[in-house]
Symmetry: C2
């Protein structure tokens, strides 16, 4: 799969000009086809596509477990992923009330609004609000978060090679790395680690999510959907993400770097 | 206008826990209404909305100059911008072949595909390809780029205050700052500086664009549309952006930091 490419570049460094080879990321549009109907076009890195498909479908609420998928076929040549849902899933494209052009998930992007509505609807159904809030007794030492952020950075080789992508990771509460993935889009990276945990049949109880990207409503919605109680990022949080995290009882941490972090919501879970 | 907000956070720093006030950015959905028809919903910082409207409409090819707009009214309460085009502009929403949900420009995002198609169409019409390529004699010293990147960083106070937004700036070839703007979305920031130059009736000849964001096809398309021959970013370039820059004769520079830069395309314009 082609997700990075060697290019000839001119590097200027301290008044020296050199012609060198460099590695850049290649984004590809991948079609997700559900029960023979094209659902969405995701612009992403052509890597970990199975995890991406599972994580995306779970995040938007089309599936609730891996058992909901009967079959998955990834075509690297046609750039598509064919998914057959179990018969008991009442999936009808027209129910989504979206036309094909609205269903593009763009590079490095938030989720377009129609998807966000779908996620919110699926949250209402499962009443995540109470489920996440019930994890009141969960406590974690700040040092475990700091070392997790470092582990995520060490485990994202594409970022180190290209500087052009985002990472996401999921850890258990002892700080053991359960999954780490990279993508041009920060949302795709989160979908991939969520999908990876689903495929590994690992529960989302007692894990936390780390990300290199900004914490907007879209990122936080994915954590709520998976009922992950703690989300920590290397980057800033934006008000929409903070508002949502507060309402759903998620501990939201930004600028987790070195020995410093900003806890925006529900700080009681983080102990020194 | 509310584009930032004070929040109470818990800061952990070197094993000390403190409750402090912090500033976070507030994203708002703003409706762009053209000739009484809702065109697009842009999630952005509620700041420099006039520049954003002009720059967006120019970037997607609905207007070609500020004279194409007869009237603009910004309502901060209703979060919308009403624009009346000149009668000579044949603008029909149905020609865009998009439904309302497809016309959301999301947080920190690339432009959804339908817009990108529209931009490409407008590029075909004006034949930018030759126009940009004709600027063959243009040369600029690398130090002017380096100091422009620094100037952009100094002139983006919201980034320093919140760490949560992107900046874009336009400079003349002597390195004088012509416009600098910030937004949660890197594309919105570019639209704002483009709109600002339009409003100032400054030509795009002999200027260059700087950005803090990654150089994807979407960012590069905006430069092509405005016929800006040089684009330099603090961040990485992605293959889609490089391909487009190469084809349209744009000098694309990534990782411009300190005294180092990567020139991905058309390096002949950058001299030591």
């Amino acid at each position: 799969m082609l997700f990075k490419r060697k290019v000839k570049i001119t590097r200027i460094k301290k008044d020296q000009k050199n012609f060198i080879d460099d590695i850049v990321l290649v984004e590809s549009p991948v079609d997700l086809i559900i029960n023979s109907e094209p659902l969405v076009n995701i612009i992403c890195l052509q890597k970990d596509l199975k995890e991406l498909a599972y994580g995306f479908l779970f995040s938007v609420g089309i599936i609730n477990s891996i058992n909901d998928i009967r079959d998955i076929k990834i075509s690297e040549i046609e750039n598509n992923i064919h998914i057959e849902l179990q018969d008991y899933i009442d999936f009808k494209l027209e129910n989504l009330n979206m036309n094909p052009v609205s269903r593009v998930v763009d590079t490095t992007c938030g989720i377009p609004s129609p998807w966000r509505e779908l996620i919110k609807k699926s949250l209402d159904n499962v009443n995540s609000k109470n489920l996440v809030k019930s994890k009141d007794s969960l406590r974690i030492n700040s040092n475990i978060i700091f070392s997790a952020i470092k582990k995520m950075q060490i485990s994202t080789p594409l970022y180190r090679e290209t500087g052009g992508c985002h990472g996401a990771a999921i850890f258990d509460l002892d700080g053991n790395l359960l999954s780490v993935k990279e993508d041009v889009g920060r949302h795709n990276a989160i979908d991939k680690v969520v999908g990876d945990l689903l495929l590994k049949k690992h529960s989302f109880e007692d894990v936390f999510l780390t990300s290199t990207g900004r914490l907007t409503a879209d990122s936080v919605l994915k954590a709520i959907r998976a009922k992950i109680p703690i989300v920590a990022s290397f980057s800033a949080a934006v008000e929409s993400g903070i508002r949502l995290a507060f309402a759903y009882g998620i501990t939201l941490i930004g600028f987790a770097r070195g020995s410093r972090m900003n806890i925006y919501t529900h700080p009681e879970r983080i102990i020194l």
